[in-house]
């Protein structure tokens, strides 16, 4: 039997529920994410790790798989994504990551601030509470630099962390354990 190339899929590690800073509305942003990043080094949202919302990823995507959601953050339609990695390259925040379709559970936050800070700034940011770590049946998830990180070598994508996450940070791009953006 012939081997097929393993399909890859992009995920955005930010769900973008931070409260936008006064004065920086999306309409006022110009150009690509690179330029925005230069202009607002601390971020357009309050979080300096989150998605800038400039849409560079959406621009480079040839499959029309990336769009900027109502929350002003990049969102990937996994059914269209072919895992080419163009969006990964263009994102100045390195927020987009390529993974395999079987790892449908992913933490959508990479912020490194302490939990209390994050809680103030964002509704879905990881607050490093460690509930996921405690509930993971295979010890595949750890808090590193104040956010949850999954070791895909160990992960069996059971979804337990997504179900237990009190903040909705950990998501299921299949939309089963957590609700998909478009269903909101």
């Amino acid at each position: 039997m012939t081997q097929r190339r393993r399909k890859r899929i992009a995920v955005v590690q930010c769900a973008g529920r931070c409260r936008t800073k006064h004065g920086v509305l999306r309409e006022e942003l110009h150009g690509n994410c690179g330029r925005i990043a230069e202009e607002y080094p601390e971020g357009t949202p309050e979080c300096r790790w989150g998605c800038l919302g400039g849409g560079s990823c959406a621009e480079v995507c040839r499959m029309g798989a990336v769009r900027i959601s109502q929350y002003g953050t990049a969102e990937i339609d996994q059914s269209r994504c072919v895992g080419c990695g163009l969006c990964v390259k263009v994102c100045p925040r390195h927020l987009i990551r390529l993974t395999f379709p079987e790892y449908n559970i992913y933490p959508a936050c990479v912020n490194e601030e302490p939990g209390a800070q994050t809680r103030k700034k964002c509704d879905t940011g990881c607050i490093a509470c460690g509930i996921c770590e405690k509930n993971c049946p295979v010890n595949a998830i750890k808090i590193e630099e104040n956010h949850a990180v999954i070791d895909e070598e160990k992960c069996i994508a059971c979804g337990m962390c997504a179900v237990k996450c009190p903040r909705g940070t950990i998501r299921d791009f299949n939309g089963i354990f957590t609700v998909r953006e478009e269903q909101v």
Binding site: P137, N139, K154, I176
Partner: protein, 864 residues
């Protein structure tokens, strides 16, 4: 009213207002029993269902989160899919204990729906979240490939195979239980539902060693729906135990616990939910005491006594010739210490039993390895004649030795008699891990000598077993470790001392290999060191010493005509020699049958009823397939097809006692009894001109017993066991140090079922690889630290290519058509062969299991 959650299950719109794990909703509310509860932690995959086309673990998903989704369980497959999976899994031998199977089917279906022609790699990836402890995954992967081909129309179902007109010995017989296990309607004890059934569960000790100062369950009793709370005072005789009755049913007030699995009181309630709540409000006051956590602590003079008789549970001294003199005169001698861990059986089905008042006593529906053993233990607890206790096996979701002792059965019986209603006791996964006996952890020192040609001269060894809180089967397991520490070779000077100590760790007892995994790991590792000193290859030194028919084993037994160790060595020679620097080799022998002078009897009764032959023999099929083997024996002897023979299962009310499923004994010992009874039936059948109808109502009973000599018997060539199986395994590593291939050559005498034996070998090898490389059972002051998902069980994505080879000789034993059993030996030589492969690669002797500094251990460390 609160929120309502609506979703579709197997095409029907369902609504509930209770937010709970979907697994519980599907099992308890919709009675969809194909959805198995193996851990309820998301780790095992037995509860896998399909949600919107994706394979999902239903214990993780909740009814609330399922809202709006479309759910399919095995019950909801189309007829075409059902038939495809039943045939594919049956013909490929994918089914053993069957508890993981409906989950595997659903994971397979989700994949096939997405990719109609999945590759092996794609299937492995799809099964990554589903544990199988029996098959080694290979047969399941093949089953899914075939099911996919059938659904594509590339392959076809041969209906004759399941029908089984050709069902004799050596035929690729389709297992009897395939259909019920694949489709999930076969009943394990947890699938039993009875009118008025209630639930019981024990509150267990928080500490391995603590004095129970007070047990206050008044709050629990006040809760509506709680029927009663039982303590040690309610148990007629508070002791059980497989061989030694040292195991308290419950620890009484004022007494000291021995391990965290100890029960303190037993709560009985109307529902599972009430039961869980009630258990939480039971208050137990402890005085925490320092536990004994190792054999070294246990043997200290001032060590706390785990049992009143002291901490030494069992000892054995096995000796022949003069080992001291032989070793002193040997050209080469090696001495090494070895250390092996506790191992958890991790059978997919946690312990469960349903008991109810029956006739003048009690009936227990159980998942165990011997209904008469369970009956015996329960009757001791109740102080009754054994006949008043009836035990019947439902399907057994794996055992591997871990279901020889009573666990849930006796407390279910006790509760059922108290409340006079059917009672179900089901262990949680963690309760199972904390409670049932493990494979003994061993510390041992082994000295082996040889002459200038590499011919073994003598063995001296000292073995220390940690038997934990209770004896369980410490005596015989320790004894097998000692008697088999010599290996399948011929030399006559041995001095083997074995000690089993009580500690406050979880108990240890029987586990596939029965002590031999530990001692042969040590011996075989020493052999490699000797080979190096002599300057010959590890293969050569084994071949020079290998036992052959007519030669004398180190225990004095003359190897019988069927002995084929050399043939297994030759079968793997090329594989071993063509991979220099990355291959390891090890041999093993394992007794079939209990032996050592014990009355180890096989019994079978055949009754002709309704135009069929009914087979009664209480021999537990724990997934290994003995129920099918026995029917094959009847078919072989009588020429009847499978459809004319019905195995009535293990039920102490109607089937004669045929001993424990232990010691690789059922195929040979019970198999021969079945053959004997069949031969009598066949004689009458021939006289009746082959017309079974004419024998209606007739009964044929047979008992098989081949006497053996007890250990240390003063006879010239003592016969320890009826038979021995032999094996040689070769393990080959790749450049990264990952196990790439395993060649497992086995002498099990006549192969009764070629599909089943491959599955036994592959599964045994994978278990051996886990033992060698990934499985551990860490304890912290006697408290198990592992959960099901962190035991280190190998997953589908980790498996190497396993080549199951069986050598069949012309000369066979005159029992059971020459079959010798395969159950345990498949798992014994793997670990030392892995050790040998790493030693060949980097010349580091790894004396501790799981091995350190390997591809597998590095992988785990890298993740922090």
């Amino acid at each position: 009213m609160g929120e309502k959650y609506c979703f579709t299950v197997n095409g029907v719109l369902r609504t509930t207002d209770v937010d709970k794990p979907l697994l519980r909703y599907l099992r308890d509310d919709l009675h969809l029993h194909s959805v198995k509860d193996g851990c309820s932690e998301g780790a095992c995959g037995t509860c896998t269902i399909i949600v919107d086309g994706k394979a999902v673990k239903s214990c993780v998903l909740t009814t609330k989160r399922a809202t709006g989704h479309t759910i399919i369980t095995t019950e909801g497959l189309s007829e075409k899919e059902k038939e495809a999976f039943v045939y594919a899994f049956g013909s490929k031998g994918s089914v053993q204990c069957g508890f993981c199977i409906p989950g595997m089917v659903m994971a397979g279906k989700a994949l096939i729906d997405r990719i109609p022609d999945p590759t092996e790699e794609e299937i492995k990836t799809a099964l990554k979240g589903n544990i199988c402890r029996c098959t080694g995954y290979k047969k399941i992967i093949e089953g899914i490939q075939l099911a996919a081909a059938i659904l594509r129309g590339d392959e076809y179902i041969e209906a004759d195979l399941e029908k089984g007109d050709q069902y004799g010995v050596g035929q690729k017989a389709f297992r009897l239980d395939v259909r019920e296990k694949v489709l999930g309607y076969g009943e394990y004890p947890d699938d039993v539902e009875m009118d008025g059934m209630v639930y019981a569960s024990a509150v267990r000790s928080k500490y391995p060693r603590a004095r129970i100062l007070d047990i206050d369950y008044s709050k629990a009793l006040e809760m509506p729906g709680v029927l009663t709370v039982l303590t040690a005072d309610d148990v007629p005789n508070n002791k059980v135990g497989h061989l030694q009755q040292d195991w308290d049913v419950m620890i009484s007030k004022g007494s000291i616990t021995r391990c965290v699995g100890d029960a303190i009181c037993l709560v009985v309630a109307e529902t599972r939910e009430i039961l869980e709540k009630a258990k939480k409000v039971v208050k137990i006051e402890y005085e925490e005491l320092r536990p004994v956590t190792s054999v070294w602590e246990a043997m200290e003079e001032d060590a706390p006594r785990v049992h009143s008789g002291g901490n030494l549970c069992q000892k054995r001294h096995v000796t022949r010739g003069d080992a001291k003199k032989a070793l002193a005169e040997s050209k080469y001698v090696v001495t090494q210490k070895y250390s092996t861990p506790f191992t958890e059986h991790a059978f997919l089905e946690p312990e469960c039993a349903v008991a109810y008042p029956y006739k003048d006593g009690v009936k227990v529906l159980s998942s165990d390895q011997g209904v008469y053993d369970t009956r015996h233990e329960i009757s001791i607890m109740l102080g009754w004649d054994p006949e008043r206790v009836i035990v019947e096996n439902k399907l057994v979701g794996g055992g591997f030795g871990g279901k020889e002792d009573v666990s849930a059965q006796h407390i279910a019986a006790l509760a059922a008699l108290k409340v006079n209603r059917p009672v179900k006791v089901v262990f949680s996964r963690q309760e199972s891990i904390n409670f049932h006996p493990k494979r003994h952890a061993m510390e041992g020192t082994f000295t082996l000598g040889c002459d200038e040609n590499g011919i073994f001269t003598g063995l001296d060894c000292e073995i220390y077993f940690d038997t934990g809180a209770y004896a369980s089967l410490c005596g015989p397991v320790l004894e097998r470790a000692c008697t088999h520490s010599v290996g399948p070779y011929c030399y006559q000077n041995t001095d083997i001392r074995g000690f089993g100590y009580y500690t406050n760790n979880p108990p240890a007892g029987a586990f596939r290999g029965f002590g031999v995994c530990q001692s042969e790991f040590a011996l075989e590792s020493n052999i490699n060191l000797l080979a190096e000193k002599v300057g010959i290859s590890p293969w050569e030194i084994r071949y020079r010493n290998a036992i052959e028919p007519g030669k004398v084993l180190p225990n004095g037994q003359i190897a019988d005509c069927s002995t084929a160790l050399k043939e297994t060595l030759l079968a793997v020679k090329d594989a071993y020699e063509s991979n220099p620097g990355r291959a390891g080799i090890a041999c093993a022998m394992k007794n079939a049958g209990v032996g050592v002078g014990l009355p180890d009897k096989g019994r079978a009764k055949l009754t002709v009823h309704g135009g069929k032959v009914e087979l009664y023999s209480a021999a537990s099929d724990i997934g290994q397939g003995c129920a099918t083997v026995f029917v094959q024996m009847v078919a072989e002897t009588t020429g009847l097809g499978c459809e004319k023979i019905k195995n009535m299962g293990a039920n102490s009310e109607v089937a004669p006692d045929s001993g424990t499923t232990s010691g690789s004994r059922q195929t040979l010992i019970t198999g021969e009894a079945v053959r004997m009874a069949s031969a009598d039936l066949n004689k009458d059948l021939q006289e009746a001109g082959g017309d079974l109808e004419k024998l209606e109502g007739k009964e044929y009973f047979a008992e098989f017993f081949d006497p053996t000599d007890k250990l240390g018997a003063d006879v010239p060539f003592p016969k320890s066991h009826v038979a021995y199986g032999f094996a040689t395994h070769v393990v080959i590593l790749d450049d990264d140090g990952r196990v790439k291939e395993v060649y497992a050559a086995h002498d099990s005498g006549k192969v009764v079922n070629p599909i089943s034996i491959q599955g036994q070998i592959e599964g045994g090898v994978l278990m051996g690889l886990g033992y060698a490389l990934t499985e551990d059972f860490p304890l912290k002051n006697g408290v198990p630290q592992a959960r099901y998902g962190t035991l280190g069980l190998m997953r589908s994505t980790q498996i190497p290519d396993i080549h199951a080879i069986y050598v069949e000789k012309e000369e066979l034993l005159p029992f059971a058509y020459g079959a010798k059993g395969i159950g345990e030996i498949a798992t014994i030589p793997t670990a030392p062969a892995v050790q040998g492969a790493y030693y060949a690669m980097d010349h580091i002797l790894r004396t501790k299991l799981p091995m350190e500094n390997t591809y597998y251990s590095k992988k785990q460390k890298a993740v922090k």
